[in-house]
């Protein structure tokens, strides 16, 4: 059993497991941090961005001049943003049978994997994951396609240029594998390969393994996967949360007794407490509004934004923000808000019980009804008419490289009254802000990452007790920025295998048993012998029927007497195949009893000789020797077939046959 690790990003994994003749891809996360190296895509022409000085290389080379811009000492590629894909060369993607998705963030590379690679398999995930992933992908494609970019850097990826690149790009994972965004056709084609599953559903793959998604508590429809056969169990824990937010709580007990547990997707901000961050978010927001400033919240269109809105719903009255407009701007804002209300089965208990009343599970329905929250597909159109300041705007993309957020950065960045509050943990806020420097607006960093932290995961692993643990190498040492914090790493007893991008791990597995079925007719015909108290054995000779990786033993076909054929060879072949082999023997022959039996059968003249290991019987009349030892008998007898069979049968009487 092998594990191919195609991504080095610990929260956006892409692993391929080869297990019992199946090839299973676990998640396909898209590392988007690469876009931070690109210049932002403004919605309207930005004179500031377009007049940024070109970056001059140290050796004065001018070929690249057009391709790179310099902003406050940092270099940006002046081109459409590109993403860092999972490794495609490590194994043939067309051999992947199934892809299991744990949550919508870990699905963003799907079109790259399933399209134009020869992939013919099936993608399994839950309905909320599919629907929200579709929204995220549609938003991404929309953000990038609606801003046509005429000039674009082309030469920077060539080999000769590499040594000249700024250090930020030199250190990045293999820039030659970076790819521009997929289009909507690829998204639709990729998502059409999805088969929906429910929590705790048992799905058979080719009769060989069973897969089961379990609630992971991180986001709507997020799940951990169990891959098991009758004897082996691999658990994939990817992006799980023990906090009580909107999704159904994490199911833990089913993860017990795993042979291997693959752990990915821990919190990216292990030092921040999500509840504390939520409080800070609210107080900073209120403070800015009170002093007449605007608040910008870069966010994804689904996920934590639901919790933020719910938190604000409770906070608005007490902070007297009743007249402050809240805007949610995204091409999929409406869909996201609508979809969140129809997935009652995937929500936590308290939200579920609201649906029984029947009331919408999320309070943002009420915010919309009372006109406190308004949603728009973009800053164009209705929004420009309704727009009132000071206000709070939720909009994407959290990288600040594309989407409506770029517009607000240009609009509000110059005033120190305004505040930008970062809540999404995927991008470094310093890097995100870099192309907008110098910036007057206040910046607050309250990352909310509800995924497991190290204290939680160490405790969880102690309870789950997997035999082996596999995790990204980042989890085996403290974060590079806080090397002294030895509490910010895994601390576990079981053997641990760490991986990085392009690792191929051989998982420690020894399969020794397989499940097979015996037809009742065959079972009836067995004759068990009790060997020891409580232990019986029976020899079986049967035909094995294998179909779809399922094996059934049936009573052997009635042996047909092979017709006398001229070809002896053929007769031999068939007779050897159809006849049951002789059983193995076991036991010891008691000499005295054996002698008595020989006597009874008319063999009287026996001379016995003791040897170091046993006895030699000499049947004088028949000129035959029998060597008897504790665990062997040797009959030496020439050309007397009938005597030999008599002796054989007598010996067999004393032995057990298996």
């Amino acid at each position: 059993m092998k594990l191919y690790c195609l991504s080095g990003h610990p929260t956006l994994p892409c692993n391929v497991l080869k297990f019992k003749s199946t090839t299973i891809m676990l998640d396909c996360g898209l590392d988007m941090t690469s876009v931070l190296n690109f210049i932002p895509l403004p919605l309207v022409h930005s004179s500031r961005l377009s007049t940024l000085p070109s970056w001059i290389m140290k050796d004065g080379n001018t070929i690249l001049e057009k391709g790179f811009k310099d902003c406050a000492g940092r270099v940006f590629i002046d081109s459409l943003p590109e993403f860092c894909l999972p490794e495609k060369e490590l194994l043939d993607l067309s051999t992947v049978d199934v892809i299991l998705i744990s949550n919508y963030h870990c699905m963003m590379a799907l079109p790259y994997i399933t399209e134009h690679t020869g992939f013919t398999g099936t993608v399994y995930t839950t309905e909320p994951t599919l629907q929200i992933a579709r929204l995220l992908m549609e938003e991404l494609v929309h953000f990038i396609e609606r801003v046509p970019k005429d000039q674009s850097a082309v030469y920077w990826k060539s080999k000769e240029m590499w040594r000249l690149l700024p250090s930020s790009l030199k250190d990045a994972v293999d820039v030659t594998t970076w790819k521009p965004c997929y289009n909507i056709q690829d998204v639709n084609a990729a998502l059409s390969k999805v088969q929906l599953v429910g929590y705790s559903q048992k799905i058979e793959l080719f009769g060989a393994v069973q897969i089961t998604p379990l609630s992971s508590g991180y986001s709507l429809g997020s799940c951990n996967w169990i891959i098991q056969s009758h004897y082996e169990k691999v658990s994939c824990v990817s992006g799980s949360s023990l906090l009580t937010t909107h999704p159904q709580p994490m199911e833990q007990s089913s993860l017990k007794n795993s042979d291997v547990l693959i752990l990915t997707g821990l919190t990216q901000i292990p030092t921040a407490n999500p509840d504390g961050m939520l409080g800070e978010f609210c107080s900073n927001l209120a403070m800015t509004i009170r002093s007449g400033g605007n608040v910008l919240v870069p966010c994804y269109p689904s996920g934590v934004v639901y919790d933020l809105l719910e938190c604000l719903y409770q906070f608005i009255d007490s902070a007297s923000l009743n007249s402050t407009p809240f805007y949610f701007i995204s091409p999929v804002a409406n869909s996201s808000l609508e979809f969140s209300q129809i997935f009652a089965e995937w929500l936590c208990q308290s939200k579920q019980s609201k649906v029984y009343l029947p009331e919408p599970p999320f309070p943002h329905a009420e915010l919309i009804q009372t006109n406190k929250l308004k949603h728009y597909s973009s800053v164009y159109g209705d929004f420009s008419n309704d727009f009132k300041q000071p206000c709070v705007v939720f909009t994407g993309h959290p990288s600040l490289r594309f989407g409506d957020v770029v517009h607000f950065m240009e609009l509000w960045g110059k005033s120190s009254l305004n505040t930008i509050i970062f809540t999404e943990p995927d991008f470094s806020y310093v890097d995100a802000l870099a192309p907008f420097q110098p910036l007057a607006m206040k910046c607050v960093y309250c990352p909310i990452d509800t995924r497991l932290n190290f204290i939680q995961v160490n405790k969880l692993l102690k309870e789950l007790q997997p035999l082996h643990l596999v995790c990204p190498e980042q989890y085996t040492q403290p974060p590079p920025s806080q090397v002294h914090r030895s509490d910010l790493m895994l601390d576990v007893q079981m053997p641990l295998m760490a991986y990085k991008r392009c690792s191929v791990l051989t998982l420690p597995f020894r399969r020794s048993f397989e499940r097979i079925e015996i037809l009742p007719q065959l079972a009836d015909s067995l004759m068990p012998i009790e060997m020891k108290p409580g232990v019986s054995v029976a020899t079986i000779s049967a035909t094995l029927h294998s179909k779809d990786n399922k094996h059934v033993l049936q009573p052997p076909l009635k042996t047909m007497v092979p017709p006398l054929s001229k070809k002896r060879k053929r007769v031999i072949e068939e007779s050897t195949e159809l006849k049951a082999p002789k059983p193995l023997l076991s036991g010891t022959i008691p000499v005295e009893l054996f002698l008595a039996t020989l006597h009874k059968n008319g063999i009287t003249e026996v001379k016995m000789e003791d040897t170091s290991e046993g006895h030699i019987l000499h049947l004088q009349e028949e000129d035959t020797l029998i060597q008897l030892e504790d665990d062997s008998t040797h009959i030496i007898c020439d050309n007397n077939e009938s005597l030999r069979s008599t002796l054989r049968d007598l010996v067999l009487r004393f032995l057990q046959k298996l």
């Binding site: 089965e345 079925e517 037809l519 020899t539 079986i540 193995l584 067999l652």
Partner: protein, 596 residues
């Protein structure tokens, strides 16, 4: 062995008890709407005479929210007494208590009946309910697991697979195999259960195309409204009502009609809200478009007030309940029945004993409370919009699931008999149709699961040859039975595991043959001959001058008295004595042939 108890050849009160692999599961707990006395609830004394329900039942499963499937639930759990798990889908769990409360109000508050469950009992009962998702495998205990499939019949309707070990039963509840205006079609995978327990409400009907029926319905409503008549459509608040509302709403929009459409009782708006929140349970089309336009927000359909009954002019009214046995629909019916311009359309099945049943069977003079009789002049139409599977649909489901036995319930005896024959003919499986209170015992013969050692499974019976997956292979091994575990291993491994030492039984004999050549040549000759004859055996020429055929050793020596006589010393183990026999025959025959 499976035992099926209760339920029977009657539509109106579903309650089935299944004993499977030592587990007892109650499927649905319905009430009969046609009775007003004790007969409306299932007879639990059958079980309770031997103890409490909780001890006897491992779980209760409710397929959907219709009262003939869940109406007796509070009675069973709170009045008879049951504290074990009850399973139903989320929409059923949401809607079921509302219908129960509604029914309780009509029965107790309006009719003043006693010995009925209270509001509190409904609440307490629902606390015992565990909601399940579609396709989720729920482990009731270590052995018993259940799984829900989409059934289409009403919002949240489900079929359930009940599985204990290798035995399984599928209970369909009510289902519908053709998608309609708001629900999808029932679906199940090829789970090959031992039994499918299927409803058979429309056992013989092969319904005409849905589109025709819809057109028919719209035409009748339209005609009546055009001539100034009033149309009464008795429905249950949830289910068919929403489908017909969608139908009329789109028709009104298209035809630009002005006649008002009303929906009685305050439940409507709430009911539509359930449909909005459980949109994932509706059909593909509604789910796809719900963000742009929610099909359950009606523009033309307005809430009904009792005073509207006497308004002049045409109108269409949806009123509850659906079988005209009580409540608002009956009140409106009484007022409108005398006018032949009006029309009542019964879109669903009516249970025996209800007003709906009577007028559908042509009765035009009805005895009401007291001595009053009511003359029915209005037109009475029956339109089967009931989303049950027809005979074709039932056959289709059986084809999907591939059961070994079929058991028909929830239908009328005569029709079931017809379907039973059809099923037995087409699928050649046994089909049963038990009467109320009858027990059907079906013996299953499941395969026995065994753990086989991988080395034995992979060992090929013919060495060297590639295993042909299509050709059954012969397998030999030893089954070890120990502490309830069954393991199939090779004989060698079995010996080792049992701590036994193999006893080698070996034979040796000398064979004289005539051969003037040297010992070496003789051996070579035998070797090459055997090579051609015994192609499938491994034959080795060992450096010490011995031939080894599998485990048979052959040594050649020259007889001391006669150099042209060679002595073959042949030694073999008990396990290969058959091969030895063939081998010697070959050697001797070839030599004889050569000499002659």
């Amino acid at each position: 062995k499976n035992e099926i108890k209760g339920a029977g050849q009657d539509v109106g009160r579903s309650c089935i008890l299944v004993s499977i692999g030592g587990k007892n599961v109650m499927l649905d707990c319905g009430m009969h709407m046609g009775f007003n006395d004790d007969r409306r609830f299932p007879d639990f004394s059958y079980i309770t005479q031997n103890g409490r329900l909780t001890e006897f039942l491992d779980c209760v499963i409710v397929s959907h929210f219709h009262l003939d499937h869940c109406g007796a639930l509070p009675y069973m759990s709170e009045m008879v007494g049951y504290d074990g798990p009850i399973y139903m889908t989320h929409p059923t769990k949401a809607i079921c208590p509302i219908l129960l409360e509604d029914f309780r109000k009509i029965t107790v508050d309006k009719k003043g009946e006693t010995n009925f469950f209270t509001s509190q009992m409904i609440k307490d009962c629902m606390k015992k309910v565990t909601a399940v998702n579609l396709h989720q495998t729920v482990q009731v205990d270590d052995e018993l697991e259940i799984k829900a499939y989409y059934a289409g019949h009403v919002l949240g309707a489900a079929m359930f697979q009940i599985k204990v070990g290798a035995e399984s039963v599928v209970y369909t509840g009510d289902y519908n195999m053709t998608p309609d205006r708001h629900l999808g079609a029932a679906w199940i995978d090829k789970c090959r259960p031992d039994i499918v327990i299927s409803e058979s409400t429309y056992a013989t009907t092969i319904r005409d195309s849905k589109r025709c029926r819809e057109r028919d319905f719209l035409k009748k409503v339209h005609e009546t409204v055009e001539r100034g008549g009033k149309v009464l459509i008795p429905v249950f608040a949830l289910g068919r009502a929403q489908e017909l509302c969608i139908l009329l709403e789109t028709f009104w929009e298209r035809m630009n009609l002005k006649a008002p459409i009303y929906f009685s009782t305050g439940l409507t708006e709430k009911a539509n809200h359930y449909y909005k929140l459980f949109i994932t349970w509706t059909n593909q089309k509604i789910r796809k478009t719900f963000v742009q336009r929610n099909m359950f927000e009606f523009k033309h359909i307005k809430p009904f007030d009792r005073s509207y009954t006497d308004n002049p002019g045409p109108m269409v009214v949806f009123a509850t309940p659906g079988m005209l046995h009580a409540g608002q629909s009956l009140q409106i019916f009484k007022k409108w029945a005398g006018n032949d311009k009006n029309m009542v359309i019964l879109p669903g099945y009516c249970v025996q004993g209800t007003v709906g049943y009577k007028i559908l069977n042509g009765q035009r003079k009805l005895e009401m409370e007291g001595r009053n009789t009511l003359e029915v002049k209005m037109q009475v139409e029956y339109m089967s919009f009931s989303a049950h599977a027809d005979a074709k649909g039932i056959m289709q489901l059986i084809r999907m699931a591939e059961p070994r036995n079929v058991l028909l319930v929830h239908g009328e005896a005569k029709k079931m008999e017809f379907l039973k024959q059809k099923i037995e003919q087409e699928f050649s499986v046994n089909c049963y149709m038990p009467a109320n209170g009858e027990t059907t015992t079906i013996t299953t013969n499941p395969n026995i699961p065994v753990d086989i050692s991988l080395s034995l499974l992979k060992r090929e019976s013919v060495p060297g040859a590639l295993p042909d997956p299509k050709k059954p292979r012969i397998m030999h091994g030893t089954l070890i039975m120990k502490d309830n575990s069954l393991r199939l291993v090779s004989s060698e491994q079995a010996l080792k595991e049992l701590g036994l030492v193999e006893h080698h039984l070996r034979f040796t004999c000398r064979v004289h043959i005539q051969d003037p050549h040297s010992e070496q040549d003789t051996l070579n000759k035998i070797y090459s001959h055997l090579k051609t004859v015994l192609k499938d055996s491994s034959i080795q020429h060992l450096p010490d001058g011995t031939l080894m055929v599998e485990s048979i050793l052959i040594k050649v020596s020259t007889a001391s008295e006669d150099p042209s006589t060679k002595i073959l010393l042949v030694s073999w183990t008990y396990q290969v004595q058959d091969l030895r026999r063939i081998l010697l025959k070959c050697i001797i025959q070839s030599h004889l042939a050569e000499i002659s």
